[in-house]
Amino acid sequence: MAEKKASVWTSISFWRRSAAWVTGFAVILLIFLTFDTMKQIRMGTDEELAKGIKRRIPAPTVVNYKIDYKYDEKRGLEAPVIGPEKQPLFGKELSPKEAAAMLHLGKLTVQAKNCMDCHTLLGNGAYYAPDLTKAWLDPMWEKTMPAMTGAKSKEEAMVKFLMHPEKYPTHARMMPNLGITEKEARGVVAFLKHMSSIDTNGYPRGFSKTAKEFETGGTYAK
């Protein structure tokens, strides 16, 4: 009888061992990545903020600081720059507790009014209306909106707009009046300011503050 050549490719135990290795390795890697992600998306503390320690998601008291958006040469993308100058929201510096409460109210309002039906927040939502991820940094709120709403500051203009969006023609697709109260609107502004301070690795790509006259993008590109 001729000698039979053994083929590994048709051996069940080879495939079984390979599958066990791939599955086992993937399970261990995913468990590790889960904990690693949890560590990275943890919200920072007020102390870290005061010391200038960078975190992807800063503490709620970030609303007390000036937030800028600058091109990082090394990373090749734009990243939020927090402080060191202060720029308290509505001119009043908030304690960690007050800031967290305000942000929470803002978040609840954003959820209750279903902003994501039209807007995008951190990659979630629709593209019918402008992306709100970096809305706080949009120069429109400093250049045109205070004059249009008759408000003294950027945040006051945002509050006025949020309470009566149907009054101000900002976009071809007008935002409807959602019945947001002044307190809720203030919370939403704090929520938006905090969201703009989150390091999103340059997302959204189209939003660019440094691009000359927003020729290459920006929420309200010319």
């Binding site: 590994v8 990545l33 992807r56």
Partner: protein
């Protein structure tokens, strides 16, 4: 110059995946390496076993 090994610029450079995710040594190549190399070893060990049986 310095294409193979560049300074890590990610926000979390203490993380091995931040290093693996930039430059030519991407996470994909790394994962394929750690998955395929042991499979080669499994292949030859199975081959040895089959040859012994025969």
């Amino acid at each position: 110059m310095g294409v193979m090994f560049e300074q890590c610029t990610d926000i979390s450079c203490g993380n091995i995946f931040a290093w693996l995710n930039q430059g030519p040594l991407t996470l994909t190549i790394f994962l394929h390496t750690v998955i395929i190399l042991p499979m080669i070893w499994i292949y030859f060990s199975e081959k040895k076993k089959l040859e012994k049986k025969n």
